[in-house]
């Protein structure tokens, strides 16, 4: 296949809006294609396929959202066709809708952000049903008893061996840490108040958990860094916890050519104020810190007005949300490992808190100078559903759009944030970084996020001419073009044409197999045998995700030997 004459942005390979051809063969980008298929992309924007590094798209939490929200299910209902299964849902779409909607946006890869090992089988059952996109799942470690005990005992080698084992058991891709220590405390209805508050019954602190997991992560040379959801997330004044967390790990070095820590959905962790009354943005402080510390990355967690379904392993946060909003509340605690919660809510333009939150996400993205450090997400469906990505891109590219939106919001959005004064408008190269190249590099996906030879043949083509359209002024055109790709090409196959899904191949699932010294593994196994005998409610032999649940694996090797 040859994609002819498009205006290509490929930041990883230094291509900045050049008119050029892209050739794909056997699913990969090649120098020159021999077969005859031609795609005319003249006058169109050509980007590597989109990569979503953080979304909640599969597993127990997501399905809990569907089950408790039939009222969301009926939104976005589309009947089946000869090619497509039916679609339902807006914030919690069914599996098919997730795949189709990503593809229509030009996205070809999406990572589920949080899966407990014990329930990873379920996560993979859903990932297997999501069509078209490649995917992977991050595995939760921040409240796991074995982790807490290794940290307590100062046994880094055993911790690294357990992380490797947990990734294998869950067929997971990376180390996710959510409200470290707080999830365990929630087992008896408690929480931790900050990074130095001891976890009940274990005597360790979040600071220690994060540090140890980062050191284990780097000892294993995993493709992705630790992926952190901070303590105190969602609370006024939490930017201090966020900055304290980052300062606590400044001395840890990355083992690979990537960040040493990714702090996710930063919008929810950049709050000032002593309570909701004096709630304000501290995005400038956070971005300022990032501008001076290039070893850290973050994603936006941008808020979208309207319906959302919050879902997180941060269970105490969700209980607080539900009580505050008198909303439906689901909670699910997982023995020895994690807790989680799901709460539906509506973000309102005239709600002062929501309006400020909206501004914070954009401030973070625009005040952080290096786009490689700050990628775009809505923390789907926490900040809002991923189908709104074109809206977010339009906001990043157009100050006049931001001003237009601000005028419809509660006036505290302007008074308690610096957004009105921010002039920056991202260009297409920066958009390509925050939606493709950045997420791929942060995740450590060598074949994603670019169009160099050997890259996956994942390409999105949009009917917008970067040489003619001024995104600053014509932001509505930009948004419309991004909402329905002219073509989405996945592994060299056209899967979307004119915004409609035309082919439904099945994507692959990334997971990381990290090797560790045999004696360390043996020490972990001994611990686990005891834990299964005494504490788990299932047998150890039935725990690990079987191969039957990952039918198209893409295994990335890592480890210490």
């Amino acid at each position: 296949m040859i994609i002819e004459g498009g205006i290509v942005y490929d930041p990883i390979n230094g291509v900045l809006g050049e008119e050029m051809d892209v050739s794909i063969e056997d699913g990969r980008v090649v120098e020159e294609s021999r077969d005859g298929e031609k795609i005319d992309a003249r006058g169109m924007l050509v980007l590597p396929g989109g990569v979503d590094a953080h979304a909640h798209i599969a597993g127990a939490k997501v399905n809990t959202g569907r089950i408790m929200r039939p009222e969301d299910g009926r939104r976005g209902t589309e009947a089946r066709t000869k090619l497509l299964r039916p679609s339902t849902g807006y914030t919690v779409p069914n599996c098919y809708a997730i795949g189709y909607r990503y593809a229509r946006l030009g996205y070809t890869c999406a990572f589920e952000a949080a899966t407990p090992i014990l329930e990873a089988r379920h996560t993979h059952e859903e990932l297997e049903e999501i069509p078209i996109v490649d995917k992977g799942a991050l595995t939760l470690f921040g409240n796991n008893w074995e982790v807490l005990e290794c940290v307590r005992d100062g046994d880094l080698e055993k911790l690294a061996a357990f992380v490797a084992w947990g990734l294998r058991a869950s067929r997971g891709y990376g180390v996710k840490v959510v409200n470290p220590g707080g999830g365990e405390a929630w087992g008896f209805g408690g929480n931790v108040k900050g990074i130095d508050d001891p976890v009940p019954n274990f005597g360790v602190t979040a600071r220690e958990i994060i540090r140890y997991l980062m050191r284990a992560n780097e000892a294993l040379r995993l493709p992705h860094s630790v992926h952190l959801h901070t303590n105190n997330l969602g609370k006024p004044g939490n930017y201090e916890t966020t900055l304290a967390t980052l300062r606590a790990v400044e001395d840890i070095a990355s083992s690979r050519d990537r960040q040493v820590l990714h702090v996710t959905h930063m919008q929810f962790s950049a709050y000032g104020g002593t309570g909701w009354r004096d709630f304000e943005s501290k995005a400038p402080e956070i971005s300022d810190y990032f501008n001076k510390h290039d070893q850290f990355t973050m994603d936006m967690g941008q808020l979208i007005f309207g319906s959302a379904t919050t879902m997180t392993a941060d269970a105490p946060l969700e209980y607080g949300n539900a009580r505050l909003l008198k909303a439906k509340w689901s909670n699910h605690d997982i023995e020895l490992e994690e807790s989680s919660g799901v709460v539906p809510l509506v973000y309102g333009r005239k709600n002062p808190i929501n309006a400020i939150q909206w501004a914070i996400g954009l401030e973070l993205a625009l005040l952080t100078e290096d786009p490689w450090q700050m990628i775009m997400t809505t923390d789907h469906p926490n900040g809002g559903p991923f189908v709104n990505y074109p809206e977010v891109v339009a906001l990043l590219m157009s100050r006049s759009k931001r001003e237009k939106e601000l005028a419809t919001l509660h006036d505290l959005a302007s008074k308690r944030s610096s957004l009105p004064s921010i002039e920056r408008e991202m260009d297409w190269n920066e958009v390509a970084i925050v939606t493709r190249a950045g997420p791929a590099r942060i995740l450590g996906l060598a074949e994603k996020g670019h169009l160099g030879v050997g890259a996956d043949g994942d390409v999105s083509i949009y009917d917008v001419n970067p040489e003619k359209v001024d995104p600053s002024k014509e932001h509505e055109e930009v948004k419309a073009a991004l909402a329905g790709a002219k073509y989405t090409i996945k592994g060299g196959e056209v899967v979307v044409r004119d915004g409609e899904v035309v082919a439904v191949p099945q994507g692959r699932t990334y997971w990381v197999d990290a090797s560790v010294p045999e004696d360390a593994e043996a020490r972990v196994k001994a611990d686990l045998v005891e834990k299964f005998a005494k504490y788990y409610s299932i047998q150890m032999s039935n725990y690990m995700v079987q191969d039957a649940y990952v039918t198209r694996p893409r295994v990335i090797r890592a480890g210490v030997i």
Partner: protein, 259 residues
Amino acid sequence: MKKVIIKPLREFWVPVEAERISPDIFAPLSIEEIRRLEVWEGNRKVTLSDLFMISGDDEPAPPGDNEIVLSGDFSRVKRIGEKMTSGTIVIKGDVGMHAGNGMSGGEILIDGNAGDWLGREMQGGKITVSGDAGEYVGAGYRGESCGMRGGEILVEGSAGDYLGEHLCGGTITVGGDAGDFPGIGNRGGAIVIGGNAHLPGAEMASGTITVRGRARVLPSFQRLETVEIDGIRFDKFLGDLVDDGKGELFAASVEDGGR
């Protein structure tokens, strides 16, 4: 006034979904165009004329100046008058589920009985039933926090369980008995029940419920005073206090054993 008359050609067992039977949709159409409208009998997509005999005025008319007369057994025909904004539907016979779903204006007159979910998520207009109505009159969709938000439903006979579940506005009047949990989760609106009711107003936050007959009242309602309305003495309750509700419940007679 444009008038269209519809009669079933046969008896239905498999339910028919006919949301296109609405004054808004009929208004600009000729009889021939109305005959070609899509309806579903189970999983079969057919035209209105495959299932019904249709006659009446051929000329277009504004939606408000439009009457549809349904004559016969429509008890298995669902979603009649869904989302209608004006005009009138007269049903001479029983009507199936979801009549007047989400309607915001106009009037539905049912000379017979109505099925479940009558006036579900209704926003305005009026529905009158001469006979009985099924369950979930004026209720919401599963999982939603609001059912009916406005308009008026009058059932001259009795109504089934969950009458006005999650009512957020409008009024519902039932001549006879209501079943279990009328007005559960109410956040506004008014319900008047001529006969008896079981556990009215559970979890209501606001709104009023009046039971002219006997009610079994939840233990989480606080008896305030006795009041006289239209010559009848009512016990007035505040509730539902499980959620600090400020709803008002009036019951002419309170069942023993409840509270």
